[in-house]
């Protein structure tokens, strides 16, 4: 899965640079801060999100876990700058997010590849749009290799399976070297086996590149498998109810050992409690 050069890159970011070439640091993930964020679509419906305050450290993998309709996608859209919050702000590396940028890229549940383009053309778009066409020839094969799809570069996007298409979408998001990757349930349409593979691969790739990864899910196992930290959201209005750190080493995240099961059960317990709270007549705080 990993490009060897890329692996070497990563191990050397903290080590001494080679004497001849001053080593350019691998673009690491950005710091993300959400300050007093609130939003409502229609005033009559009340707020969808309220008083959101949290920080995500550079290179951290954070899962937003919550029931359907609690505002996860809304929050992610605001992190990506594709929508603006009614209240508060999203701050990335000290700057308020004003709009979308290839530096923080969002991936959706559907791969949404452009069906009239080849895989390579799809992947090249971010570079093409940002005036970096010169890098396409080297960068596109690099990211396709990263997602294990080098052999498919010249295929039409429609000829690929759902899992392969989602990998292309991942490569397309990675090509312009983003600092933050935002995933909105990107694996939910895939079969269990493909999903497991992609969950692991995406986590490894993000960690390898030092990316900050924010992942929306309503699958507890997915959150445990992928995230360093899980923010559990409650609904009506969407708020952060729990902030859970998942301390599992990489092998334990495969989900076969007791430690995984314990983490899973603990998170499941919290999640059900949070989910129950918003069905209760009088909301309580925990």
């Amino acid at each position: 899965m990993f490009d060897e050069a890329e692996m070497r890159d990563m191990s050397q970011t903290t080590g001494p640079a080679p004497a001849d070439t001053p080593r350019r640091r691998v673009p690491a993930g950005a710091h993300v801060a959400v300050r007093g964020l609130g939003h409502s679509y229609r005033r009559a419906d009340g707020p969808v999100l309220e008083a959101m305050d949290f920080e995500i450290q550079p290179g951290e993998v954070v899962a937003l876990l919550g029931r359907s309709g609690c505002g996860k996608s809304t929050l992610l859209h605001m992190l990506s700058g594709l929508s603006q919050p009614a209240l508060g702000e999203v701050v990335i590396n000290g700057n308020t997010v004003q709009g979308p940028s290839p530096r923080w890229v969002m991936m959706f549940q559907a791969p949404s590849l452009y069906p009239w383009m080849t895989v390579a053309q799809n992947v090249a778009l971010g570079l093409r749009f940002t005036g970096r066409s010169g890098q396409i020839a080297t960068r596109v094969p690099e990211v396709l290799d990263l997602v294990d799809l080098s052999a498919f570069a010249d295929r039409n996007a429609q000829e690929l399976s759902g899992g392969q298409q989602q990998r292309v979408a991942l490569a397309r998001s990675l090509a312009p070297r983003p600092e933050v990757l935002l995933l909105d349930e990107p694996f939910s349409a895939l079969d269990a086996f493909t999903r497991r593979n992609l969950q692991q691969d995406v986590r490894q790739i993000a960690r390898g590149l030092g990316l900050t990864l924010v992942l929306v899910t309503h699958d507890v196992a997915e959150a445990v498998r992928m995230a360093d930290r899980v923010l559990v959201l409650r609904a009506n209005p969407g708020r952060i109810a729990e902030d859970v750190t998942i301390e599992l080493d990489e092998p334990a995240r495969q989900g076969t050992c007791e430690a995984f099961q314990r983490a899973h059960d603990r998170l499941m317990g919290l999640y059900s409690r949070v989910a129950d709270i918003d069905t209760a007549a009088a909301p309580q705080t925990i």
């Binding site: 979308p100 890229v105 949404s112 093409r128 039409n156 000829e159 312009p176």
Partner: protein
């Protein structure tokens, strides 16, 4: 088991299947010529219609052959093609941008809906007197009539294509840093190329139909003029040959448009 048993039969199929299309086309052409011939016989046998016997296939095709040799066919076709080309270009230059705008903006679509549907239902030929007054040249008037006829299919087809665009395509592009120019030329136009071309194909059909009556007025060149002229000079085999030319060129234009649609169609069969 069945797959094995079927194999030899399947292997024999492709050559037959390949012949089937041309064979059916030949049958269709044969039937048309046969009907034409029967019609010609009936006319020749009828004492009242005897004067029109030259409409039959044999004199018509003989005359067509000589018109092809003398260059007369090219001479009468070129002005018509120019008028249709100019009218279509004008229609596309208006229809595509306006179609994109009304496809993108619900408000504009609602505002323009009734006026556009109203204008669309007016036969383009009813603009003829106005066109004649408004334009200095006959050519200008004819191009205008063709454009008026052709603009609607292009406009509506473009707008319909736009509404079928996956909103995620626009979001992804915006996220990856696309500016409005990229949005239009990299995402929107390729996505709706087939819809635009389908509109152009429909428009071409309408334009070609409008062309001939439009050329009945004023001008002294083109296919419509040639028909009128042949009628006035009682030159019925030339008239029928011109009709054949109109049909053949119309068919060729339509085939070209449908080939372009096939080329730009990005939808793959998913088995």
């Amino acid at each position: 088991m069945t797959a094995v048993a079927d194999a030899p039969i399947r292997a024999g199929m492709p050559s037959l299947a390949r012949l089937r299309g041309p064979l059916n086309a030949a049958i269709g052409i044969g039937l048309l010529l046969g009907l034409w011939w029967l019609g010609g016989r009936a006319v020749a046998d009828n004492p009242d219609l005897f004067a029109f016997a030259n409409f039959a296939p044999e004199p018509t095709l003989r005359r067509l052959w000589s018109m092809l040799g003398s260059g007369e066919v090219v001479e009468m076709t070129l002005p018509s093609l120019y008028r249709v080309g100019a009218g279509m270009a004008l229609a596309a230059a208006i229809g595509v941008p306006v179609g994109i705008l009304i496809g993108r903006m619900a408000r504009l679509r609602e505002i323009t809906n009734i006026p556009f549907q109203f204008l669309r239902m007016i036969s383009p030929l009813s603009w003829m007197p106005i066109a004649v007054m408004a334009f200095d040249t006959w050519d200008g008037a004819i191009v205008f009539l063709i454009a008026v006829a052709a603009v609607w299919p292009i406009l509506f087809s473009t707008a319909a294509g736009l509404r079928r665009i996956d909103p995620a395509w626009l979001k992804v592009a915006r996220n990856l840093g696309a500016n409005p120019f990229h949005m239009l030329f990299v995402v929107i136009l390729p996505a709706i190329a087939v819809d635009i071309l389908t509109g152009i194909r429909l428009a071409l059909g309408v334009a070609w139909v409008v062309l001939v009556p439009a050329e009945y007025l004023g001008v002294t060149s083109g296919l419509g003029y040639a028909i009128n002229d042949a009628r006035d000079t009682l030159d019925y085999d030339r008239l029928a040959a011109t009709v054949v030319v109109i049909g053949v060129i119309g068919f060729a234009l339509d085939s070209a448009a449908s080939a372009a649609i096939r080329k730009f169609n990005w939808v793959r069969d998913t088995h």
